[in-house]
Subunit: 354 residues, 2 copies
DNA sequence: CGCCTTTACACAATCGTTTGGGTAAGCAGC
DNA sequence: GCTGCTTACCCAAACGATTGTGTAAAGGCG
């Protein structure tokens, strides 16, 4: 592991071989092979000398040469909408951990949730000859996926799912149901949804889960109360403006399918004189590290982002090895905090400004 | 660009050559060389046929083979404390953009701000034969840097600087000064600092800049008012607890050298019955996208994170090409928002609970 | 028409590994 | 002493590109 010393060029197999007066192929077999092949390659004395010298010289095989020969790069491509989204960044941390454990390296690129860039970045990764791809930004109805499959490229989805393709995701439907149960039990009857981007399965599933459960409980949820929006704070702010500006009695609770959208919405509500947690309940999704630490702590559904990343990587490894894999949906958990802990006020108590 | 079709193995130079009945080396020269060498390699008619066929077959050179021959991988290693920190993630986005423009790919790894992991991850990247490293997590007094230099490894620092090594950073000293000026002019005289991790130049410089300017303005800032802390929300919360718990009159303003620490602190202040922006001013650093969108919008020093990432990559490219480079410090800008817009209340008006 | 210079290529070595085949030496058994 | 089996190696051909050097053919010039 200690490659110190100011030697310019890295040590090669040939260097080791010539120093020991044996053939490079022998060195290769000793160093590379799992005992079955290593036996028969060299006497145990020679093998020991080889291993000792390799360690001493800090030999590490050239991955380029190795890849050229073996047609495997042990590199993976990861495409996400944007790494500055903490949700995807956390999933990536999971990928990186699992990849490191399995001697894989990863390239990450941002697609900015554009289908064009998605395709471009995928091609760049494939030109790099990655062994497989992890796609964290799949759009509903993507035509990239069938293409990749036709080209026999190993890949798995992460974060967002797509029918017919293996994915590691949160069980977003359940997540939506948890929030519906919580708000209903707290006594809310008029609610609105900040639903996210309609091309993302996360948004669709969380919304669908909430909606279905809400109706099963006997609640009403008109289409006009479901606002599709961007996933970031500004998206949440804009959606909240829409909600506040709608005619009729305002909702007593809002479910935003993303913490950042929830935070944006909280800002808007406050600007309109509403106290979150008192005048209006807000629930987010993902339970990012921020949620619990906000001035008004935000109720949120915790999705196991790190584990989703790990699972995605492990699934991809299996796909690469030709195994069949099943999608996994990891179970989320709701954390109720101040932003939605109180029961709704009745009409006379509300302080809606506009 | 369109590599579709279900052909299993990628097209090689040899494939193109044999299809055209010419030698691979000719194809290589036509495709690779910048016109000076391409002239003399083939007639313009042949060259055109080569280019057409390459496009048609979707030829893309095997990077492993190319690297093996040229001893350049066109891959860069990036090490950051954690990618789930939006500051580093944004810088990485800058790196990725600049890298893509220059036909480089990047590996990113998290060091979790541990010097051991830093070294381990660097070795992994070097074993991958990256052409250079971007280090976003340098600790004061790091011994990794001299080692890398002794081994002639091209690298640059990002985010944090270190004397004697090229870096792309925010001018954090100026950032600290901006905050000092702002708080002083707003009339604050008792302030506290949430100073961040003492091994990070960002924390040290922002603190030093603030401190020096504050004293130049005639202010007092005892050591007990400078609280070193983690960079995240919990770190901010803990530091704020310390501040609130200190004997003597409480400060009227707090400068946290990081937005997340500031957000954590805001939570603590609120829990103690203080209204941020009224009872106590808070200023953060980095102007992450969240700052302006918080329920109480947070004043913050905007550091050009994306540009810092871009610059770091461009600097590294020059280092790799053997040019000398100078460190760059990019100028920050203060955005004053509600969290620190009001003048301090005098004693009688304050509502300090504890 | 012979010589010299281009033009337009081809040849072969090389980068560092892996891997399917040798093969020489040593030994056991008949 | 010959056959046959291990043992412990070596040899050489890949993998897909790059690049220094060679060399026929074509064309220009006197």
């Amino acid at each position: 592991m200690d490659l110190s010393g100011s030697s310019r060029a890295p040590i090669t197999l040939k260097d080791l071989a010539s120093e020991l007066g044996i053939h490079p192929s022998t060195v290769s077999r000793v160093l590379h092979s799992t005992s079955d092949v290593a036996k028969g390659a060299a006497s145990s004395a020679t093998a020991q000398k080889v291993r000792d010298l390799a360690r001493e010289r800090g030999y590490s095989p050239d991955p380029q040469a190795k890849s050229l020969r073996t047609r495997r790069t042990r590199a993976l491509g990861v495409i996400v909408p944007r790494l500055s989204d903490i949700v995807l960044a956390t999933m990536y941390e999971g990928i990186e951990e699992a990849a490191a454990e399995n001697n894989y390296s990863t390239f990450v690129m941002n697609s900015h949730d554009s289908t064009d860039e998605q395709r471009r970045k995928a091609e760049i990764m494939l030109a790099r000859r990655v062994d497989g791809l992890i796609l964290g930004d799949v759009h509903a109805g993507s035509d990239l996926l069938p293409d990749l499959r036709a080209r026999h490229i190993p890949f798995v989805l992460m974060n967002r799912r797509h029918p017919g393709f293996p994915s590691a995701t949160c069980d977003d439907v359940v997540g939506g149901e948890l929030v519906a149960d919580h708000l209903w039990q707290a006594g809310h009857r008029r609610v609105a949804l900040i639903a996210g981007e309609p091309y993302a399965s996360t948004a669709l599933d969380r919304t669908a889960g909430f909606r279905q459960r809400w109706r099963d409980l006997g609640g009403e949820l008109p289409d006009s109360s479901v606002i599709w929006s961007r996933f970031d704070t500004e998206g949440g702010r804009d959606a909240a403006e829409t909600i506040v500006g709608q005619p009729g009695p305002a909702p007593t609770a809002v479910f935003a399918v993303n913490d950042f959208a929830a935070i944006g919405a909280m800002g808007t509500f406050r600007a309109h004189g509403l106290t979150v947690g008192l005048d209006i309940a807000v629930v987010g999704f993902n339970d990012t590290s921020l949620a619990a630490q906000l001035p008004i702590p935000l109720s949120s559904v915790r999705s196991p982002m790190f584990q989703i990343g790990r699972q995605a990587m492990l699934m991809l490894r299996r796909v690469i090895n030709g195994e069949r894999v099943e999608s996994v949906r990891m179970t989320p958990e709701l954390f109720v905090r101040e932003s939605s802990a109180a029961a709704p006020l009745d009409e006379s108590q509300r302080s809606l400004a506009s």
